[in-house]
Symmetry: C2
Subunit: 356 residues, 2 copies
């Protein structure tokens, strides 16, 4: 509670500056202000590096000019484009789905790890092993048709709310990153999500939330099986067969599989993005690799353990990654210092809780 | 030899009409002629169905209007966009590569199926089993870096020539289908190749040849492995691990994996495309599914065995598929009757051989 006045102060200031920008953007004589493509970014090396990168790669005659067909930018999702703490949204979906599943298959009520999930014991759920979590993911993400899954996930996303902000998860996106997406697209870049999350799950909302169509979402993905319903109509069933684990080295592998070009800009926030950033940076010509550091406990969360921030299992950003970034010229974005606002105006300006 | 005069006559007539169209297109008062989006198609039900489909899906206010984000069209490659007889181009590449491979690994000279390939005995090569062919594909398409593969395939494509036309394979594309690609794209459709061929192989030339970028090529695809060279630079190695066999049911599965939307138009030429056409047609709203029938031995090839055409292992078009197409409203395109010309002007107008 003791930081509440500060939070409110910040919030009010955000509302004010957002409103001011809105006015300027729609009807302003001050063209030099409205032409700022990244209004939610504070002036500093991070913002400067983005603008310089876009300028030099798109300016005709520039020695660093990149042909429009090669303008590929890849973005991690959880923790880079939206909130991932205290737990990935998709995991929340899967845990919620266990209840529905147990109604269809009552025997699950007495079988682990489903029994633990159904107990609602948060501490026990948080302690579940990776294997247990994988069992839950397989049970809740496969076995149904692609269309059924899409409808279920869509319905859940429309109703579920984040416990801290009491807002739909789809509103907890980062405004500064949305501006980067829009800025890159306006300059001919094709923007992709490259996520450790489920490809089909992220596809459900990526177009509406980020303007990124399903065909530009690369994620952890399983196989499907083509079959027919009783009327002979074909449909695809989601199979528990992993094709790609789109984390770590899986990210460049997924980029090759789905895009077939080396990105010239990549954005992440955790060790799971290391290889993607390295891969993007390794190409010839101008390259931009960026890492978002969650160092803002007041406005969002603070975790690392880089730079003495609290350690976490969700979106780990190690000191080794931080040091590598500094050494190799990857830009580390401080949410606290580089971002004027965190969330889009009108969605999450009133945090009703704080990081635990 | 006996049809040569006929071939020449046809060829001359093609040159003439192509030249005439070129003149009309650049400087013509006859707007109604130049506005034909499919000049290499004869007037008939096939051409009509394409034009009607595009018109009704793109005309604002039409009850069949399709939002631009949903305008996805998928094309098989071998036999649909370019020549596949007497053998798929990629298989020719793999057979050619065995020679190079044997120089690097002399022990292959004494090991089957490499020994047979190196013998040059066409009859024995043609009789190779599926398993033997798979061994050759694995040996020539995997084990190298993605960049090395691309460079090798590119070099081969620049030099290799089709035995009948003495032309690079990349020139043996179908002009009428190129017009369909361009026509759809001009009307907001995103055009994809969905091929049983290797995704990485087709990506090497698809952009230059069809204007289809690597990220819009879906094919049979294996995994890659991320690693580092001696200088610590990252690269991807092509692994002999199959992720997707993009044939038959694998085509809709591949479409879901790579695109995530049901296409509203699909084009194929063989039983391997059946499920893709069925999948496209099964969606709601207007749909177009088309099959190219190779019934023109003079200008290209004739094979089926549908409609009494000679049977083949390469691009089989069964009578059952033909009957299903007729029953379900898929359009069968007769190369002989529907296409004014087969190849783009200036590339393959002078056939120096005929189908065996």
């Amino acid at each position: 509670m003791k930081t509440k006045p500060f939070t409110i102060h910040k919030t009010v200031s955000c509302v004010f500056s957002a409103a001011a920008l809105l006015i300027l953007a729609t009807d302003s004589p001050a063209a030099q202000i409205t032409s700022d493509p990244l209004p939610s970014w504070n002036d500093g090396p991070a913002k400067k590096s983005i603008v310089e990168f876009v300028t030099k790669t798109t300016k005709s005659g520039s020695p660093d000019f990149v042909h429009v067909s090669e303008r590929i930018a890849t973005f991690d999702q959880d923790g880079t484009l939206w909130v991932e703490h205290p737990m990935y949204t998709q995991v929340m979906y899967c845990l919620d789905r266990v209840g529905t599943l147990a109604k269809e298959k009552p025997e699950l009520k007495h079988r682990e790890p489903f029994k633990t999930v159904l107990s609602g014991n948060r501490e026990a759920i948080a302690k579940m092993s990776k294997e247990d979590l994988e069992k839950i993911l397989a049970a809740t993400l496969t076995g149904m048709s692609v269309d059924e899954f899409r409808a279920e996930a869509k319905k859940w996303l429309a109703n579920a709310k984040d416990a801290r902000w009491k807002r739909p998860y789809t509103e907890l996106t980062y405004q500064p990153m949305k501006e980067v997406l829009a800025y890159l697209r306006e300059n001919g870049f094709k923007t992709y999500i490259v996520t450790g999350g489920g490809q089909d799950f992220v596809r459900v909302y990526a177009e509406e939330v980020y303007g990124i169509p399903p065909e530009q979402v690369v994620g952890t993905v399983g196989g499907t099986k083509y079959g027919y319903d009783k009327d002979g109509k074909p449909f695809l069933t989601k199979e528990p067969k992993l094709l790609l684990n789109d984390n770590d080295a899986g990210k460049p592998e997924g980029i090759h599989l789905m895009i077939g070009r080396q990105p010239c800009a990549a954005f992440g926030n955790s060790t799971g993005d290391r290889q993607m950033l390295e891969y993007a940076k390794a190409g010839s010509g101008p390259r931009l690799s960026m890492l978002v550091l969650h160092d803002d406990a007041n406005r969002e969360y603070a975790y690392g353990p880089a730079q003495g921030l609290p350690d976490t299992k969700v979106g780990t950003f190690t000191q080794a990654l931080y040091d590598e970034a500094k050494q190799k010229g990857w830009i580390v974005v401080s949410m606290k210092d580089d971002w004027k606002t965190i969330f889009p105006a009108g969605t999450s300006l009133m945090p009703t809780g704080r990081e635990k």
